[in-house]
């Protein structure tokens, strides 16, 4: 009786997490289509989709881009987020809050709006960025066309920094000032105090935040879809976009599901690491 109130939430989670995951694995072994004959009469084809998936250069290209996108986004968000959090402590309160509000706004703005803002900012000769380049006398750039992957990474860092900043701000407050003063008396410079004292102390927070930002970046679809749509060609196509294109543009639901399973596999690994770190943190905090 005591666990009855748990039932509705548990049922929802099972029905919409566990069942779809199993369904995805099953569907990935069929030739299910979005419409037409293959939509009504899907046939079981074993691992054929996976065979095509892993022999298609487009998959490997997308995997590589996903690694670059996730790696650089996570590094950028964590480094910039930490730096802002660190510098923020020393700044004048008014400037402190102004900068925080602006950085947080970039994070709270809906995904479609963020994508749309950057699209207008980067696109065309009269875009905001080229206006700024005019002031400094730089040549005009069309990064959405010439460096699409770099562009979406910058956009994603811009959008995600606030989260890391908030996390690291909280962590920095927990570093006792006595430890820092002791380091200063021992003659430690700024860099020594950051790398020798602060970072080791907040290492558990860094670990968990890196995993969390990785998980959040793995599924990013909207901002890429809106700014470059994975293009030009496939030059900024990451796994989620490849999945969408195969499943909906080409109508290959079965094949798209095999990409979903691959993406899910990475998610499961990262999520298991996350739970592991979560347990460690729980044990430490008692």
């Amino acid at each position: 009786m005591r666990i009855v109130p748990l039932a509705p939430a548990t049922l929802m989670i099972v029905a919409f997490f566990l069942v779809p995951i199993i369904w995805a694995i099953y569907t990935s072994m069929t030739n299910l289509g979005l419409s037409g004959y293959a939509a009504r009469n899907p046939a079981f084809i074993g691992f054929e989709n996976y065979y095509y998936l892993f022999t298609d250069p487009r998959t490997w290209a997308a995997l590589g881009r996903t690694a670059v996108f996730v790696g650089l986004s996570v590094a950028g968000q964590n480094i910039v987020g930490f730096c802002i959090a660190y510098v923020r402590q020393m700044a004048t309160p008014a400037i402190q809050s102004l900068a925080s509000v602006i950085v947080i706004t970039a994070w709270v703005v809906p995904e479609v709006v963020a994508g749309f803002l950057w699209y207008t900012f980067l696109r065309g000769d009269e875009s905001g960025m080229n206006q700024i380049f005019d002031i400094f006398g730089f040549a005009h750039q069309q990064w959405l066309l010439t460096a699409p992957l770099a562009a979406v990474i910058v956009i994603n860092i811009w959008r995600g920094c606030a989260f890391s900043m908030l996390v690291y701000s909280a962590a920095l407050q927990d570093v006792s000032s006595e430890v820092l003063e002791a380091a200063e008396i021992d003659g430690a410079g700024r860099m020594q105090s950051i790398f020798g004292v602060i970072l080791p102390i907040i290492r558990p927070v860094i670990a968990i935040n890196v995993v969390l930002t990785t998980l959040n970046t793995l599924g990013v679809f909207g901002i890429i879809w809106i700014t470059t749509a994975g293009g030009p060609g496939t030059r900024s196509e990451t796994l989620p976009l490849l999945m969408y294109n195969q499943a909906y543009d080409f109508g290959l639901i079965g094949y798209g599901s095999s990409i979903a399973v691959l993406l899910l596999g990475f998610g499961v690994i990262a999520s298991l690491i996350y739970v592991r770190l979560f347990k460690v943190g729980e044990a430490r905090n008692g």
Partner: protein
């Protein structure tokens, strides 16, 4: 000492300059939207409107363009957040108050689920919803969004409940109150700030979500703001920048309003780590 004071002033100045630079870099891509929204002749360039006007807002505030999508967004976000809070309240209570045999494992499982990328299960969800007739319905979006938010919400709710001492409830039981009455008259009122936090977090998340309605909805009448902004952009993007900016601003405003209202309690509660707020 004089040297130390000087060093502190120098640090502060350097920090101020660095933060100002950060602020400018982060705000520049947003400036255009605010200016263009009030400029009937807006282009892609960042420029002060020659004539400030509400023309763009007037043009989009019609039933078809912005009002229906706005209402759809409200229905999806409010509906989901209500369901999430109620279900999390039910689930959080036994997890917080009883020593359940698999309680710990349950928590680890939902923490695990809360971190999975939802993007990856949208294809099977779509196929499932076609089978059970939930595709292209607001109810379908609400049901799935609820499931997607639940693991994190249940975990948060348990945490908030753990912070409420059990003595008050026990005192009520000795006075003859039932468990349900204890929950309704003692736990829920004390839990109000936590419930509000979960509701608002879920609301913001759903208001901003694009992928789920983008996959599950097909008819224009069902589009929330996220999807209709996207399709408006695709159809008229090259011509009506001002209206587009106004639409985007209208869509963004509620999130900003709500977020900055609750920012203080959020920073105190949700973001202390291991708190796992979704980015």
């Amino acid at each position: 000492m004089a040297n130390l004071a000087k060093a502190k002033t120098r640090d502060r100045l350097a920090a101020d300059i660095a933060l100002t630079f950060v602020a400018i870099a982060f705000v520049v891509p947003m400036v255009w939207m605010v200016l263009a929204a009030f400029d009937a002749e807006a282009t892609l360039a960042i420029q002060l409107p020659a004539h400030w006007s509400l023309t763009n807002f007037g043009a989009i505030l019609t039933e078809d363009v912005a009002i229906r999508p706005f209402m759809n967004s409200v229905i999806i976000s409010a509906g989901t957040s209500c369901l999430v809070v109620i279900l999390a309240l039910f689930a959080g209570y036994p997890l917080s108050r009883y020593r359940l045999r698999y309680g710990k494992q349950y928590i680890y499982t939902i923490v695990f689920a809360s971190a999975l990328p939802i993007t990856a299960i949208m294809v099977p969800i779509y196929v499932m919803f076609v089978h059970i007739g939930l595709v292209d319905t607001l109810a379908g979006v609400i049901v799935f969004r609820t499931a997607a938010e639940l693991p994190f919400a249940v975990w948060l709710m348990k945490g908030f409940m753990d912070a409420i001492p059990t003595d008050l409830e026990e005192a009520a039981w000795t006075e003859g109150a039932s468990r349900m009455e204890g929950v309704a008259y003692i736990v829920v009122p004390l839990l109000a700030p936590g419930i509000a936090t979960i509701f608002i977090l879920s609301f913001i998340e759903n208001w901003g979500n694009f992928f789920v309605p983008f996959i599950l909805l097909q008819s224009r009448d069902n589009y929330p703001m996220a999807v209709s902004l996207y399709s408006f952009f695709g159809e008229y993007g090259e011509a009506m920048y001002g209206q587009l900016a106004a639409f985007a601003l209208l869509y963004t405003a509620p999130t900003l309003l709500v977020y900055f209202l609750i920012q203080k309690p959020l920073q105190k509660g949700g973001l202390r780590l291991g708190g796992a707020v979704k980015a």
